[in-house]
């Protein structure tokens, strides 16, 4: 049987087959979150390095020295992310809803404890990132405008993604997928800042 010999019945049915099927749920939000993460760029400091006049450091070299402090803070932030991951693991153990649909009373309590734990971790994280951002701000004048622009754009993208995931998690605090997503975003932010410190 060749393509031309395709059974008429099948051929007729193929012609009627819809070329498009819409998914039953919205797939865009996850895609949007993922592409926001993938838009993060790494400024190429080395390409901007110039030979300084004798006895004087370049802007970038001065920045590199000052940014050593960033590495210390980023390391602290990593510890907090590890703690957030612990919360994730904790939430993953939330017992599933029984087949009969009856939710055990202790699950609500469990959720409450987990949510408060998550908030505590998040507060600590935000405190560290605030300090880190203040450090970056202090260096702002010493960095090339293009570098500042890239850093700010990246941080804006990460923060937007965190905000969206955070809002969704608030509505559904036991959603482990969201917790994982949010933790991943925090990790992305820390890794970005850590990357800055290594430059």
């Amino acid at each position: 049987m060749t393509h031309d010999e395709l059974n008429d019945e099948i051929k007729n049915r193929l012609d009627e087959l819809p070329r498009e099927i819409q998914p039953e749920r919205n797939l865009w939000s996850d895609i949007e979150t993922a592409i926001a993460d993938s838009k993060i760029m790494r400024p190429d400091f080395k390409s901007e390095r110039v030979t300084p006049p004798a006895g004087k450091a370049t802007v970038i070299e001065r920045a590199a020295v000052n940014w050593q402090r960033v590495g210390v803070i980023a390391a602290a932030a990593m510890l907090l992310v590890a703690f957030s991951s612990g919360i994730t693991a904790y939430l993953v153990r939330v017992p599933a809803v029984p087949a009969d649909g009856i939710v055990e009373p202790q699950r609500t309590e469990f959720e409450t404890v987990a949510w408060e734990g998550f908030l505590a971790a998040e507060r600590s994280y935000q405190s560290v990132t605030d300090e880190l951002l203040a450090e970056l701000d202090a260096q702002r004048e010493e960095l090339l405008p293009e570098t500042v622009e890239i850093v700010e754009e990246n941080l804006r993208l990460i923060d937007d993604a965190i905000t969206r995931a955070r809002e969704a998690l608030e509505l559904d605090p036991a959603n482990t997928r969201l917790v994982n997503k949010l933790t991943g975003m925090y990790r992305t932010k820390v890794e970005f800042l850590e990357g800055m410190s290594r430059l």
Partner: protein, 188 residues
């Protein structure tokens, strides 16, 4: 590969190319418009290739994420929908090759969620029967049938995508058509 008319969100070639250019420079709104215009076809491809709703949803998302990452390789010489379709086919086939061993263990299990999805369509009739029969085909035969008879790929294109010989592709198509004919005759 032949081009099919798209649905209500259809974009002409110039519009799609412009949106792709904007998306390549980081405009997520433009990319969302491309998503809206193409998601129906991409999801249909993923669903028919996998016969599994959850897997099809995941693969659809992965295909669009991959497309976003590769937008700078889209030159505008082809229709965006054709290019997007090729990206999706690659995503589906590479993912399924990766998990081939796991799937072999469950290949005979009928995915009821797929049939529920198909059955929910308003135009439930012969096309639904055909979709159900396609879903029951052996995996490789189904993939070749979907790509050749539904999506309009040529044997050489399918062979390249799947990493098989064109002759194998033709044999799988022949097998798929025979099985479909038997299934439809049996149901009649």
């Amino acid at each position: 590969m032949q081009a099919f008319a798209t649905g209500s969100m259809a974009l002409n070639r110039a519009e799609a190319a412009e949106l792709a250019t904007r998306a390549a420079s980081g405009d997520t709104t433009a990319f969302e418009a491309l998503y809206s215009a193409n998601v129906g076809r991409i999801y249909a491809l993923c669903l028919r290739m996998t016969s599994n709703v959850a897997e099809a949803e995941e693969l659809t998302q992965e295909a669009f994420i991959r497309a976003w990452q590769k937008l700078d390789t889209f030159r505008g010489t082809a229709n965006f929908s054709t290019w997007m379709h090729r990206v999706a086919a690659n995503v589906v086939l590479s993912r399924r090759r990766k998990y081939a061993r796991e799937r072999e263990r469950t290949v005979h299990q009928e995915d009821l969620s797929y049939h529920a999805s198909v059955g929910d369509r308003t135009n439930r009739s012969a096309t639904v029967d055909l979709d159900e029969a396609i879903a029951k085909l052996p995996e490789r035969a189904r993939e070749v049938f979907v790509l050749y008879d539904i999506e309009g790929y040529q044997h050489q294109e399918i062979a390249d995508l799947m990493g098989i010989a064109p002759g194998t592709c033709k044999a799988q198509l022949h097998r798929a058509r025979q099985l479909l004919q038997e299934a439809l005759n049996h149901d009649a």
